[in-house]
Symmetry: C2
Amino acid sequence: MEPETTSVTIHNVAKSAGVSISTVSRVVNNLGRVAPETRKKVENAIRKLDFYPNSRAQALSRKRNDTIGLIVPDFEGQYFAMLMEGAHEEANSNGVNIMVLKAKGAESQIDVVKKVCSQGRTDGVILMLSELFDQVLEKIGNISGPLVILDKDVNLWHLDNILVDNRLGAFEATRHFTDVHGIKNVFFVGGSEHNVDTTARAKGFVDALASVKIDPQDKKFFCNNYSYDEGYRIACEKVVPLINSREHYGIVAGNDDIACGIIDALMDKGINVPQQVGVAGFDDSDIAIHRRLKLTTMRIPTKEIGRIAVRMIINRLSGQVSEPSKVILKARLIVRDSCGCGKNQNQ
Amino acid sequence: MEPETTSVTIHNVAKSAGVSISTVSRVVNNLGRVAPETRKKVENAIRKLDFYPNSRAQALSRKRNDTIGLIVPDFEGQYFAMLMEGAHEEANSNGVNIMVLKAKGAESQIDVVKKVCSQGRTDGVILMLSELFDQVLEKIGNISGPLVILDKDVNLWHLDNILVDNRLGAFEATRHFTDVHGIKNVFFVGGSEHNVDTTARAKGFVDALASVKIDPQDKKFFCNNYSYDEGYRIACEKVVPLINSREHYGIVAGNDDIACGIIDALMDKGINVPQQVGVAGFDDSDIAIHRRLKLTTMRIPTKEIGRIAVRMIINRLSGQVSEPSKVILKARLIVRDSCGCGKNQNQ
DNA sequence: TCCGACTATGAAAACGTTTTTATATATTTG
DNA sequence: CAAATATATAAAAACGTTTTCATAGTCGGA
């Protein structure tokens, strides 16, 4: 009934080596001075007994867990995986662990953050906010440990903040069509109109056209969400009717899913992509290179975001850095075939 | 220099409510009998002081962390995300957390498992093994807590085990071509020949052909890895030369990436897909529905695997279940367009 | 009215570390 | 050579809970 193999503690090691537990602790943590022969005795005992310090006791005593919480609204797409990749890389090389939590609605996010921090389960938290983020921020101002907010521009309080310049990204994608391809008819098909990312990207699009003296009027469309199906739908309903077979066009999509939907819709309507209509996506997700027509897209440095977020927390914990900071990363245009630059350029 | 807001402990609550810490603990954990008015006093104090029990102290005292470790070789593709989805769902509804760890090589996996278990950082571990898994298993037989092995058939020791019947999956995909489409010329293009999944799928393919009296000789090909590019390469080098324009063909691919590579290769060589050659993938990953020609593919119940894995650990921890078990899940054929069943069936 | 059983609560031990403080012993200094 | 100082180690306190054990107080029955 009790197969519970009681594990070996620092006391066992101390006894076996004929020293006190303080000495063992000093050896394990490389602290203070220990006579060479004593150290050897202790190290032998540790090896003999296969001793690993109990992390629960360490956590209590040291008042830290060596654990960072990563709170995301969902695990969909590959954003989460990339974020994890970067975060884990940085965390691992600093001996800290990552606990993944999911919290979608504002309620849930407030709950999870408060709980996890107040309980001392993590030493710091990386939070990817959902849409209603001002409500969340309002309530978590007084939490204890370091807190990094991702992807939403947060000016309040002493919070670290990492974001991507979406406006600039869409600006560059748009100017790629106007400048490199000499196209005057550029459209924008974004995600939900109330999404802050979409808003920023739409602004970049407008700014880009304005900067080359093109009227952006009636050239912006919005999907209900960031999905392939919505991209397909909007392309059929809004874009196709505007296409004149004698002109060339460019479309800046809100993300790669939408871009793919658009491309397939256009093709299904017999329109030549990318010869007559070039399309650019956003995110550089997996699907960008897993299609016949490789997607030109703006790459979001997601892995980098994860890495920096962990770095920020570690810095704050180590006391080296006390001031909160805001990091703004750029998206980068990855030119492939769907804009008309690539292998399918000349038919 | 010390903005460390020292958090409120059970002692503060006890003092504020005018009772002992044992009473507070009893109220918090709903244990033993507490007089209604005492309970009210304590609850008020808890609310007033915004008390959250320190999870580190709880962990030490209770000898558990309410944390499950999920060890994966990488975060690529969407396998990890789906696994996480299921695992988190089950974990969350049981009040346990998930710590994600990465360990790729055999060395690393042994290290991580031993460390995480011996330290008591997690109460149980879900382990997704890399290729050289016998070496790993050999060394981690004596670890303490519950351990669930994913995706590799493990017969040794007292380990829980969840796997997918890859043989049966490939069998069904193959028979779909022979039975539904009446195709005799079916090929298999798997991943690395030394991969156990590939081996099982290849066997399913051979068994299926044998079961309908077709000679599987010279119909199996292998990629160096599970990538789009390899699928493209093998299709060009091995498959295309075998295609006779008067015959119909079916191809069972090792995964969706390979399937996409094959399809694009065939199309680039001017072969009609799916009219002349049908292709089926494996995994039902994102890309299956993000292409113009929707992929027919075997869906692996990854989310379910995550859910069951967590369930197993929780059951073992609760002492309800003591015997290790092996769960074998089936892949399910998702019929879309690339096999020739769908919208593009008749040209 | 007295005794046993039960109830509500408090006191104290335990969990396994880290860290501070104390104490021998060895080494230097005047 | 005694006093001051270093050095190596041990003893004990602390971390914040849970849990066992002890102790008053209450109740019902003889």
